[in-house]
């Protein structure tokens, strides 16, 4: 399963290689160079289907990008800053919208195009494609984390975070698997986790136009929750070194009773360990403050059109085809990318593959983006560094440090850690 991808690539590459040399237009057919998401499992078939549907109006060429988000952004930034016209359609991480829009690298999507791009689309994912009240991206897929648990250990999952910790402590005293697995390594996934806790408590990191840091009591409370997790004795010993693969492994090797992780866990666990997969339960992320529903942090990808593209309209049409509900379903089933189209969540086939669809939909309705600001990378780097390791958090002091370093970043002072 994990490797099926590479063969797919092989096939895609054969068709891609011949004309990949930077978007040369052959025989008058405009080439839409797609960067980002083109190497997802099975995506070559979607590209081929869209090329067939386009019937000579355009031809999509899927180009590869590094698999890690930082590597992708690095390529985009370097080439867009050089006004490279061989990028047309960009598959962007949801956190880049403000930065790319503010730099003038991507086109605003307006009028009928904007209407069509947001039709049948869940609202929170649309928010990740907005900057300055303008639409810059076409939502392609989204993501929210869930609470995963072992049904045999936890027959009725707690609905509050305190409940989760209590139950884990109880399991530990009974000598059973107890770990609450959480992505606490110094990286983007930790920022996602922190943002979820903070947003659930009603807090934010920066104000709406990202001119002012907004660290307050909610921040201190959120930091307290992370600190308590680290000190509770029910976190993994590897907490401060855990990214998604480690959190997954902690479930797989029978350490964890609970895990906060993305929906891919289910299908991947079915491949890795069918026994544990059968025992996996899922629930909405717990309430971090009693009575306040949790608010998940949005992941996912939007399509944006490069400002330097020579074929913006064709790129738009290509994007709309690549993310048509039908193709969203296909990529959800094959590559584990949850759809943004409401209608797909009603599809029987989707519901079968994603039995947790209702929980995902509930979370998506109230989900929040990460701070929408052109300086997101800087802020994210500061947050993950300042909050590492989780056991080193001293809520009041750490909040003060966050406040001053984020404000410095906004003012363009100081250095990034």
């Amino acid at each position: 399963m994990r490797l099926r991808q590479l063969t797919g690539l092989g096939v895609a590459a054969v068709s891609v290689a011949a004309l990949a040399a930077c978007g040369s237009d052959d025989g008058g057919v405009p080439v839409v160079n797609l960067y980002g998401g083109a190497s997802d499992v099975g995506f070559d078939k979607i590209i081929a289907a869209c090329n067939k549907e386009a019937d000579g109006r355009y031809r999509i060429v899927g180009n590869l990008l590094p698999s890690d988000a930082d590597g992708q952004r690095e390529q985009f930034v370097r080439r867009l800053a050089a006004h490279d016209d061989s990028l047309d359609l960009l598959g962007m991480d949801v956190t880049w919208t403000a930065e790319f829009a503010e730099a003038g690298w991507i086109r605003e999507i307006t009028g009928e195009q904007a209407t069509a791009a947001t039709e049948d689309t869940l609202d929170p994912p649309i928010q990740t494609a907005m900057w300055d009240d303008k639409l810059y991206g076409i939502p392609k897929h989204t993501n929210v984390q869930l609470l995963w648990y072992r049904k045999s250990l936890v027959p009725d999952p707690p609905t509050t975070w305190d409940g989760v910790i209590e139950r884990a402590k109880q399991l530990k005293s009974e000598g059973k698997p107890y770990v609450v697995a959480f992505t606490g390594a110094q990286y983007e996934g930790y920022v996602v986790g922190f943002n979820t806790v903070l947003s659930s408590l009603g807090g934010t990191l920066v104000n709406d136009d990202s001119t002012q840091v907004t660290v307050d009591d909610a921040t201190v409370q959120a930091l307290t929750i992370l600190e308590q997790l680290a000190d509770s004795g029910v976190a993994s010993a590897s907490l401060s070194n855990s990214q998604e693969p480690e959190v997954f492994a902690q479930l797989q090797n029978g350490e964890a009773a609970f895990a906060i992780n993305w929906p891919y866990v289910l299908s991947s666990m079915r491949e890795a360990d069918p026994e544990i997969a059968k025992d996996l339960g899922f629930a909405r992320l717990p309430e971090f403050a009693d009575g306040k529903e949790s608010r998940a942090t949005l992941g996912g990808m939007n399509y944006a059109i490069s400002s330097y593209s020579k074929h913006p309209d064709e790129a738009y049409d290509a994007a709309m085809c690549l993310r048509s509900p039908e193709h969203q379903l296909q990529t959800a089933l094959e590559a584990g990318n949850p759809p943004v189209a409401r209608s797909v969540y009603e599809d029987g086939e989707f519901q079968k593959a994603y039995p947790m669809y209702q929980v995902m939909l509930d979370e998506l309705e109230t989900a929040v983006p990460r701070p929408v600001t052109p300086l997101y990378q800087n802020i994210s780097t500061i947050v993950s560094t300042t909050l590492s390791p989780p056991s080193g958090i001293r809520p009041e002091q750490t909040a003060e440090k966050l406040e001053s370093s984020i404000q410095d970043a906004i003012d363009g002072k100081g250095i990034l850690p």
Partner: protein, 316 residues
């Protein structure tokens, strides 16, 4: 070789009395020197041209950018700020913490690599059995792509997943992480040292060691008094290039800890500011500061090794 080489033969015999002959000899010598100069420059020219053509502009550009407040996202808003980027970086505790860690890793790492590299070189040079096997296998660590090697170490040391970790999670603590980073670095680069030192060892004449042995020198004395002085240039080059590389350590830390728990290096800071933060001014400033530090290290080494340095005084 100075110990075995015959004294350098001068072009002009100082005992020559015939004035005319002296004049001719002088003329020949000066023609010879001119030809030598020409040949020297011609031989160096291609290398110098390539190096300058590729590297000069980027280096000067980075120096220039370090004097500006520059952001890749807003190329039209560059603002000349003089040395204030340097003040910002040098007054930041973040920089000095990373600097300290980097120095520590460099010093401990390079020292360990020199000792182990010398041992490995001696084994590779002297072993009586399976020499080809040893020489080739010893180079394998250096041949493994750093990022992959680092990832495999990280995996090996992740609690519950890796074979080295068991129930501990060393990569979540500062000092264990630093030692693992050093281990990963040393494991990989000892062969680099060993190979360079072995090439030096190949030039130590056996007769000289035998003669010393007959004079009653112990193995340690032979090594310390005969071998080491003779391979000093190789030691310098190996140590110099390793130290310069070690000070710019990036891949291993990036994969093993990503700089968590105070394990960031100066190169990681430069990466975070330059590539992630897109702050060309601050990032270039850090690059220049790393450059200056390595230049100082190189200068100290070349001084310490004196005439053994390439381009150092010629006739020994």
């Amino acid at each position: 070789m100075s110990t075995v080489a015959p004294p350098p033969t001068d072009a002009v015999d100082p005992l020559e009395q015939d004035d005319e002959a002296v004049a001719i000899a002088r003329q020949r010598a000066s023609e010879g020197r001119r030809a030598e100069r020409r040949l020297g420059l011609m031989l160096c020219a291609p290398a110098v041209v390539v190096m300058l053509a590729v590297a000069a502009y980027p280096i000067l550009y980075a120096l220039w950018l370090s004097l500006f407040r520059a952001d890749l996202r807003t190329p039209d808003e560059n603002e000349f700020v003089g040395l204030s980027n340097y003040v910002t970086v040098l007054s930041s505790p973040i920089w000095w913490q990373a600097f300290g860690i980097t120095m520590f890793i460099t010093v401990i790492g390079a020292a360990a690599e020199l000792v182990l590299g010398m041992l490995l070189a001696l084994v590779m040079h002297r072993t009586l059995i399976g020499r080809g096997l040893v020489r080739t296998s010893a180079l394998v660590p250096y041949a493994i792509v750093t990022v992959v090697a680092a990832f495999s170490w990280r995996f090996a040391w992740t609690q519950g997943i890796g074979w080295l970790a068991g129930d501990s999670a060393p990569l979540t603590d500062r000092w264990p992480s630093i030692w693992i980073i050093i281990l990963a670095e040393v494991w990989k680069t000892v062969p680099f040292m060993a190979l360079l030192l072995m090439a030096g060892l190949a030039l130590v004449p056996e007769d000289l060691l035998k003669a010393a042995s007959m004079d009653g020198a112990s193995a340690w004395q032979r090594f310390w008094r005969v071998t080491v002085p003779l391979i000093k240039p190789s030691i310098l080059v190996a140590l110099l290039f390793r130290t310069l590389d070690a000070f710019r350590i990036f891949d291993n830390i990036f994969v093993l800890t990503n700089g968590a728990n105070g394990t960031s290096s100066v190169s990681m800071l430069a990466y975070n500011n330059l590539i992630k933060g897109l702050s060309l001014g601050i990032g270039s400033t850090m690059a220049v500061l790393i450059f200056i530090t390595t230049a100082i290290i190189a200068f100290v080494f070349v001084r310490l090794f004196g005439a053994a340095a390439p381009g150092g005084s010629e006739k020994r």
